[in-house]
Symmetry: C2
């Protein structure tokens, strides 16, 4: 017997995590690489996850007074140059449009024609073009705060692409705000960080650590970059969202000025913040198991999949009657303030094949109903967060009564598992030896392990950061908020440290 | 007294329709031109209209078994060349990416660097890149039909841009399907045409004429292009949506083949269809009046705007109490299967300014509540589809009881007005003289009028089409479905005609 066959995904997470990830993306039919290097095709199940994320986050963003808009895909090259640090950060990964026509050459093939006087850059992010509009829209303190958001595609040329995690084109939301005072703009950046954190915990079942990025990891052009960091199952960090306090840098670059209540002209203070399709990659790596995707009920496009089982034609009608009735009853129930999402898989293919498909896709609950269930009045219920063979048999009415609570239990179980994993793989470290051991450890087969999250003191120097990056491939993920974060000694340089920072290997 | 001041928009529709359109877009804060030629910035109120359209149409598309996906923004140049007619049609208006980096030149400015081996085209439409994926996804008749849709931005270089109607970048939905038989694919294209038509009538309050495009106006690469044509208030047609039966053209170009139920390899039959942000431009031109936008309640992001009026601080509390109570009661009511969308405008600016803002934005119902209303228990209600000064006073409970019906009446009134306009400006024409007069007429000031829709016989020749285009700037909008459409004589050439076709000037 091939032991591998016990699991739907080969290799398992322990055998080869990066390849496991790739296999889950394929097995759950989430996405695939296109022929355009670095660009992905998001397939129906993957896109449905993005739509769930969009819907929920959009509601939360709008509920706090932000309005959606849409700005052009193209940014004039000159705009990008206005903020010196910004252009430094993005010039290396830009797609540049230089022509606006194609023409047949002597070889019969098409070639770019009609060159543009000024090349256009495809937005890697929209601070510059939105800043130009803000300078027109904002005249007086009465126009402030200005709170907008857009859902869009952006392009950052990617040399080592990876589905969902790092793609040349990706989908995201980018918020941009302008305020009359420094305090208000900074508060906005932190307010959104909190909004993201609650969204990730409650909706994605994803515990995250929040804090501020060190200078070396700041968004180009920001005064402060705040970040949310998740820990996934190979013990690496994923930066799942960022929120930037931009000071007056983009206001000065774009001349965003307003008449304050005293009649004085002032530069506005701005913020920007975003999360992207990277969240889907994080969901996979945080919650998935050796049988594929595991979706929190809040996120799953289908929460209950019903699998009717019948061998003979005469069983079919009876089974389908029960199945249809059950689906209608389920739709009347609610979970997380939405009607429960149920589907019946009526395809006439083998029950095993069907069942495994939904396991790999991560659907929280599978229900099997065959003639046996019809005559006994019992329903067979299988939870995705438990073993594939574990099942419970319940009378239909009991199942319906329990269903919302059952989904809530699954949601909590998935969150708890992720939270325990985070706790178990987070360590306070005070010596260089322990630190190097933590990040340089290997498994029984000699594969490098990623350690996890380490809180250690840091002298604040770029030099120490660089040395650790070189030795251990780790970075400072953030300077966390923690009232107990007191000064100490940097174990790497022996110099004083203002407080512990969070180190990890990262995607 | 300046007569102009009677209307919020100057010039009026009669004075200068194109400029009126531009002024409505500005006054309703829908969109503005960006510094990137041909690309628009969609502002909050304009984007909220798009979100309403998206939500409704997305539901209708999904309810008929189509699934959303996302394909890359970039198309390899070579793909575009695979279908000969397709590339002919789009090569002239493509944005071409040739570099993926920027580098500082000796002049201190940035210049494109790192040229691509193969240039990339920004999708003008996605048949080619989706066709390439279909050829991988489709193996057997069991994989068919394949029904997908995507919401995306596309780029077609535009020399004479106009906000919403013709922009270089625009937002749209594009459906792409593959089928086992010719009949099924053609049925799909016609089914979607019907779906669009119902959506436009019921949701946009927009009557449309449907039919097939003559060969000269077909989508490049299609066997048949079906279209929906609206008539707007300057008596010009707008093509508001198209649905294409693509035959096996893209299947052959992309090698989309499947094993049929007899075990034979066959090329699939495909369709594609789309509507875009052009719908917003059409809404403005179809329903707007000299005071701005007029929105059907189904589309309007806000259906009821409440304007609290108070002069003294002591009135404020009383008025706001009533206003808040009323808003909560309204939210409990439904119209068109959704909770009624109500907002209170609490901004402390003049009541007149506020009121005019919402008139220009087209909100269906305005409610004014001041101390007088509070003490009398009566509510002042103003309908956007009626005169600005017309009002009705109703006891609060009567208003609440009538509200859903009131919205329904407004919806019907807006549709009827558009339908009457269409009828009044549609003519059956049998002589060349009458035809030329219809399209070459002028108003009292000598401005050219656009005639409207003319049903006339056509000999089927490209020559006649060209002549009419040259003489009258008109095109054949479609060959309409009409059982009473019988053969006749072409009034332009005297040759036989298979039936009447629909002529108009068009956007
Ligand atoms: Zn060549
Ligand atoms: Zn230069």
């Amino acid at each position: 017997m091939n032991l591998r066959k016990e699991f739907a995904i080969s290799p398992t997470r322990n055998e080869d995590f990066p390849e496991w990830y790739q296999q889950v993306v394929t097995a759950a039919e989430l996405a695939e690489n296109s022929e355009v290097r670095g660009c992905m095709i998001i397939k129906p199940w993957g896109y449905a996850l993005w739509e769930r994320i969009q819907k929920e986050l959009d509601q939360r963003i709008k509920a706090t007074g932000h309005k959606n808009v849409y700005f052009p895909l193209f940014i004039p090259l000159e705009y990008l140059q206005r903020e010196a640090e910004h252009v430094e950060g993005f010039a290396k990964e830009c797609a540049v449009v230089t022509h606006h026509r194609l023409e047949k050459g002597p070889d019969g093939k098409l070639h770019p024609a009609s060159p543009l006087t000024e090349p256009l850059v495809i937005r890697p992010t929209s601070e510059t073009i939105i800043g130009a509009a803000f300078s027109r829209w904002i005249q007086s303190y009465r126009d402030l705060p200005l709170l907008i958001n857009q859902w869009a595609n952006v392009v950052r040329w990617e040399m080592r692409p990876r589905l969902f995690l790092r793609t040349t084109e990706f989908l995201w939301q980018e918020g941009h705000t302008a305020h009359a005072t420094k305090e208000e703009a900074k508060e906005e950046a932190l307010f959104i960080l909190k909004l993201y954190e609650e969204f990730m915990r409650a909706f994605l079942a994803l515990p995250v650590i929040t804090g501020e990025k060190p200078e070396s990891e700041r968004f180009p052009g920001a005064d402060n970059t705040f970040t949310l960091e998740a820990l996934v199952q190979d013990r690496k960090a994923v930066q799942v969202g960022t929120s930037h306090f931009l000071g007056q840098n983009f206001s000065k670059a774009n001349n965003i000025r307003f008449l304050d209540s005293q009649g004085k002209m002032e530069f506005a203070w701005t913020s920007s913040w975003g999360v992207s399709t990277r969240l889907i990659g994080t969901l996979i790596m945080a919650h998935g198991d050796d049988n594929g995707l595991v979706l929190p009920p809040t996120v799953s496009p289908i929460q209950v999949i019903i699998l009717p089982l019948f061998k003979k034609e005469e069983e079919k009608t009876k089974v389908l009657d029960v199945v249809n009735f059950l689906a209608e009853e389920i739709k009347k129930l609610s979970f997380a303030a939405e009607p429960i999402r149920v589907e019946i898989d009526k395809r006439e293919i083998g029950g095993g094949v069907k069942s495994w498909e939904w396991i790999k896709k991560g659907v929280p609950l599978r229900i099997e109903i065959g003639s046996q269930e019809v005559s006994s009045g019992l329903i067979t219920v299988k939870r995705r967060d438990k073993g594939v063979k574990e099942k419970e048999q319940l009378p239909a009415h009991v199942f319906l009564e329990k269903l919302p609570q059952l989904l809530s239990e699954i949601q909590k179980a998935i969150y708890s598992r992720a939270e325990n994993f985070l706790k178990q793989n987070t360590r306070l470290i005070d010596t260089k030896e322990e630190f190097y051991e933590f990040f340089a450890s290997k498994d029984s087969k000699g594969n490098e392990l990623s350690g996890g999250f380490a809180y250690a003191h840091w002298d604040g120097s770029r030099e120490t950061e660089e040395k650790l990056k070189e030795d251990l491939k780790i970075t400072i993920r953030c300077i966390p908020w923690d009232p107990q974060n007191t000064p100490g000694i940097c174990p790497f340089s022996g110099r004083p440290s203002k407080g512990r920072v969070l180190f990890a290997k990262a995607y």
